[in-house]
């Protein structure tokens, strides 16, 4: 497992990274934890001419609260995300998703920015971030811009990032009072990636009526997706098992599923339905 020849530079600042990236955007790849990129390189499925290591760019690392949002630096590793007290308290779905990525070694090195920039359709974080209405800040030669996480996930391994851009931070609005969220995952027994990863965020009135709901699914479908039909079903009176089941059906009906030699589209749809139902049920007393 030997990658093709490449050069390597370690950036000390975002500025370094942007400047070097601009020199050869097509031939360069940013690397932080390397848990997605390096295996591809070793199998020679990716052969960048240059790696720009941003793992130690301190301005990209850290979690803070700012104007009603939790702001997470792109270089923050999954383990820090999963263990952060504010994230655990205010964004439980995100903490749970981060805590279920790979294994401890992966969580110690893998970063939120790396995961989103790689756009594996079975990655855990996109579902949680979509359910929590997160956006990403992107830096490029022309300055910064923002995208919703849904807009980042264009297709498997294809993102809304231009080759000369760097994902710098993720903003997750702090949910209103009465909000709850959860991430439920059915991992592939071999890879550990999500066969169905379902994140649900709801806002409940004291009596149980649902005023806001977001449902997002990763793994089961061709790309991570919001199940907006399911959300529509959820908004309204106090949730009943029947309505939860109806929402799960709606989510399964809305997704685009594809089969392969090892698992059919039909079964993926079933997993989606079951895990949406179980995730919503987990949020209701």
């Amino acid at each position: 497992m030997i990658p093709a020849s490449f050069s390597y530079r370690r950036a000390e600042s975002l500025d370094d990274a942007l400047r070097w990236l601009a020199e050869d955007p097509q031939g360069s790849k940013l690397v932080a934890g390397g848990h997605s990129l390096l295996p591809l390189m070793k199998m020679r499925l990716a052969a960048p001419r240059r790696l720009i290591d941003i793992a130690r760019v301190s301005e990209l690392i850290g979690i803070r609260e700012q104007s009603g949002a939790i702001v997470i630096g792109a270089g923050t590793v999954h383990r820090d995300l999963a263990g952060h007290p504010d994230v655990r308290q205010k964004l439980p779905a995100l903490a749970e998703a981060a805590g279920k990525i790979g294994d401890l070694q992966v969580r110690n090195r893998g970063t939120i920015g790396g995961s989103l920039s790689h756009a594996d359709p079975s990655a855990d974080l996109p579902a949680a971030l979509m359910a929590l209405a997160a956006t990403v800040d992107i830096a490029g030669p022309a300055g910064e811009r923002s995208l919703a996480v849904e807009e980042m996930m264009v297709a498997p391994l294809v993102t809304g990032l231009a080759p000369d851009e760097v994902l710098v931070r993720v903003r997750v609005p702090i949910p209103a009072a009465g909000s709850r969220s959860v991430y439920l995952k059915h991992p592939h027994p071999a890879s550990g990636y999500a066969l169905a990863g379902v994140a649900v965020a709801v806002t409940l009135e004291p009596a149980g009526a649902v005023t806001a709901a977001r449902v997002a699914v990763t793994g089961a479908g061709v790309v991570p997706f919001r199940a907006t039909d399911a959300e529509t079903v959820l908004i309204g009176d106090r949730l009943t098992p029947a309505r939860i089941a109806e929402a799960a059906k709606a989510a399964a009906a809305a997704g685009e599923f594809a089969g392969d030699a090892l698992m059919s589209a039909e079964y993926r749809r079933q997993l989606c339905r079951v895990y949406v139902e179980r995730a919503i049920s987990a949020l209701v007393d």
Partner: protein, 782 residues
């Protein structure tokens, strides 16, 4: 001195292995060493039109590029070493690099040798091979069909072998009240030891000796085969395997790769190393299992089994691997009646060439397949006649007073007490309570099941006479030399070649006890053909059974010689001297004694030895067993099935094994645990999948589900002890019992959980989707 045998002595090899001080083949670094990489076919079946190595050869740092053409006539073909009698085995040529045709994805096409591994790898991408792809076939029954792609000109219809064994079953089946029929698919598995394969070779022109460090379970067999293929005399070839990181059967075979490395080291007069990566391992290291079986079981309506007949189609892969032909025949067909009294039985086996990786032994090798079908058939039979599977087992299991029992194929089961193991296992589960709970849960739409496997296996391979009779091209005795140094320290040279099983510890326990000396005074030497005269290696749960017996016999010979010297020192006759706890003394007289160390030094000084006794203290033994050994036991699995997802969870697992006396309970427990999870891997998770073009879809740990610790509950183990009457230390072997027993136990449990759906049988692996679909189909029909 307290006895070590029977106690959980910590593994002596672990300190070095855990702290990274092991010495594996890839750890060998020699001055001037070059590195090899092998270009492998991306096609399952293709004609090679041309190979252009010019660009690769021109790269700075590339030493040499070899193709099949270059080696034709210089290197022999790789033979199989198991030729089952009357099987019409087609020994098709297996070139070390393909010359005209590639026959599976992973077939070697060229080898690059370069100054460093990076250059070698880059050079592979510069070799241009022009292929003309041919239709491929990966399924053995399709390969036998008319019009199927043909792999070898010498094997029409792709049939590699056709072998039948057993007695006439027609009358019994014609008159039987009940005949149960079932077809089984035992899917292809991919063995995955922690250490992939590797070879490092060094040629010394001064002595004309070639040394090959190798990941092997049997260095002497490798030396013999390499000698024949390379035309290098055996006394100038040395094979070394210091530490080997597991094999599970996949390191028995002689592969083209190590032949190439050995050849290049001599050709270039420079050390060459090759280390397989995991992706290469998936496609180029032998696979296991891969059978279809059509099985019929005859019995009476009140539950007496009367006979079994089996027709099996075994996938041999593209070529015959070293032990490949023996696995689906001898190691399978002779024991399909399992642990049950049965007057008649027969097996018919087709071995078939396909465009897939060659198959060979994988932990259990043939016996898991046999055990799976008989244990499944007993459950299906019980279901058919409306009896409890437990009762059918009780009734048909051989009783303790029936041993030795000769089965319909002529195997003589040495000893057993099958009911005792079953009873012991039943004390560890509450069967009646489980059945009640099962019914109650079923009413709530929840599905749990329980499955039994009351297995027997044949291991401790084996008597050499039998090896010859069944076409194994080698002996199956084992050697031991016990050398006592002047200071009383002991080296034991064994021809068995442990590669992770812990015999450096268990053999030392035996020797320390027998000689009454501390375990630290004993070292076990193995895995080097220059230090150990001869041996047949480690597989088939034979190492303690055959290798241990050889050691024990050699130690006895050392003691006998020492006794004569001690008697001379004590001035009594040898027959009056007893040896206890490391001390010789006249019977009943304890104040006159000679310690083992005192006798040893006298043996070496030789100032005053009894007449006719030669100096030194050393003995060898070549132990050839008189029979196989037959471990047995009862495994019970409990499972739950998630009705929404089809996911199966093993909720409880009980294993009662009888491997004779347990030398080291901790090591035995480790073997049993590892075996069980490997067997459940086949039941629930693993399975190689090829697509229609012959590409391996499950080519990495991302897709191929190796069992993980988190999949399993605590495994509960216990033992009954029924010594083998013919083995000097009574042991029966335990390396494979878990793998053999657990697969049917778990599948039986899942089928039991699904019995309310009227589902009779599902083929392995019982993946969530397969189970869910089966339940779904029944619900849709209702």
């Amino acid at each position: 001195m307290s006895k070590l045998v029977g106690t959980p002595v910590k593994r002596r090899e672990d300190a070095r292995l855990i702290t990274g001080h092991g010495n594996f083949t890839d750890d060998v670094r020699l001055p001037g060493q070059a590195y090899a990489e092998i270009l492998r076919s991306p096609h399952a079946h293709a004609r090679i039109l041309s190979i252009d190595t010019t660009a690769a050869q021109a790269m700075p740092g590339v030493v040499k590029v070899y193709t099949g053409q270059d080696l034709a006539g210089r290197v022999g073909t790789v033979p199989t070493a198991w030729i089952p009698p009357a099987s019409d085995l087609k020994q098709v040529p297996h070139a070390v690099l393909a010359v005209e045709t590639v026959r599976y994805v992973g077939d070697g096409v060229a080898m690059v040798v370069a100054d460093d591994p990076y250059i070698a790898r880059d050079a592979l991408d510069r070799i241009v091979v022009e292929y003309q792809t041919l239709p491929a076939v990966t399924d053995q029954r399709e390969a036998m069909a008319e019009g199927a792609p043909q792999l070898h000109a010498d094997a029409p219809g792709n049939v590699a072998l056709h072998w039948t064994v057993g007695n006439d079953t027609d009358e019994v089946f014609a008159q039987a009240e009940v005949v149960v029929r079932q077809e089984f698919r035992q899917q292809r598995l991919i063995p995955n030891p922690m250490e992939p394969r590797a070879a490092t070779a060094q040629y010394l022109s001064a002595t004309d000796e070639l040394t090959v460090w190798l990941t092997t379970q049997n260095p002497h067999i490798h030396r013999l085969l390499l000698s024949g293929i390379l035309g290098i005399p055996e006394h100038r070839l040395r094979v070394i395997a210091v530490d080997v990181g597991g094999g599970f059967g996949s390191k028995i075979a002689c592969y083209p790769d190590e032949v190439l490395v050995a050849y290049a080291a001599r050709d270039l007069n420079r050390p060459v190393k090759w280390t397989e990566d995991r992706r290469e391992h998936f496609m180029a290291t032998t696979h296991g299992r891969d059978h279809y079986e059509e099985v019929e079981l005859a019995g009476s309506r009140d539950g007496v089994l009367q006979g079994i007949r089996v027709k099996s189609y075994a996938n041999m892969g593209a070529y015959l691997s070293t032990a490949g032909p023996g696995v689906p025949t001898i190691l399978f067909g002779l024991i399909v009646n399992g642990a049950y009294r049965m007057p008649v039985a027969s097996s018919e086996v087709f071995g078939v060439f396909t465009n897939t990786t060659p198959t060979d032994a994988y932990r259990g090798a043939g016996r898991p397949e046999a055990t799976y079908i008989i244990e499944r058939m007993v459950d299906l039979f019980a279901q058919t006649i409306g009896q409890d599977p437990l009762e059918v087992r009780r009734r048909n299991l051989l009783r303790a007073d029936e041993f030795p029992y000769t089965n319909p194929f002529g195997l003589a089961y040495d000893s057993g007490n099958y009911h005792a193991a079953l009873d012991q296992a039943l004390t560890m589960v509450d069967y009646p309570a489980f059945r009640q709970e099962q019914a109650a849960l079923r009413a709530q739409g929840q599905y749990v099941g329980i499955g039994f496997s009351t297995y027997v296996e044949m291991c401790g391979l084996g008597p050499s006479q039998v090896a010859g009779a069944v076409g194994f091209q080698g002996g199956l005795w084992e050697s031991a030399t016990v050398r006592v140094h002047p200071s009383g320290k002991v080296q034991v040279f064994t021809g068995a070649s442990p590669h992770g099983q812990g015999e450096e510890t268990t053999f030392s326990q035996l020797v320390a006890d027998q000689l009454g000396i501390p375990i630290d005074d004993v070292d076990i030497v193995h895995g080097d053909t220059a230090r150990v005269a001869m041996g047949w290696g480690t597989y088939g749960s034979r190492t303690m059974v055959v290798g241990g017996a050889a050691i024990s016999t050699a130690v006895d010979r050392v003691i006998e010689k020492a006794r004569r010297i001690a008697a001379h020192m004590l001035e009594v006759s040898p027959e009056d001297v007893v040896f206890e706890d490391g001390v010789f003394h006249p019977e009943g007289v304890l104040d006159r004694q000679a310690t083992f160390a005192e006798v040893t030094i006298q043996a070496y000084l030789a100032w005053n030895l009894p007449q006719g006794v030669e100096p030194s203290l050393e003995a060898s033994a070549y132990y050839d067993p008189t029979n196989f050994t037959y471990p047995f036991g009862t495994h019970i699995a409990q499972v739950s099935v998630d009705a929404d997802t089809g996911e199966v969870r093993v909720t409880k697992y009980v294993a009662v094994d009888d491997c004779g006396p347990v030398v080291n309970p901790m090591i035995v427990e480790g073997q049993v645990h590892g075996g069980i999870v490997q067997g459940i891997g086949q039941a629930l998770y693993e399975g190689a999948v090829y697509d229609d073009d012959g590409q391996l879809v499950t080519g990495s740990f991302m897709d191929y589900t190796m069992p993980r610790a988190r999949f399993f509950p605590q495994i509960e183990t216990a033992h009954t002890v029924t010594p083998s009457p013919h083995n000097p230390i009574g042991v029966k072997g335990v390396g494979e019992t878990g793998t053999i027993a657990s697969t049917p136990a778990v599948v039986n449990a899942v089928m039991d959980a699904l019995s309310g759906f009227g589902i009779q049988h599902l083929d392995m692996p019982l993946t969530p989707e397969k189970v869910w679909r089966a339940m779904q189909q029944v619900q849709d029909e209702q």
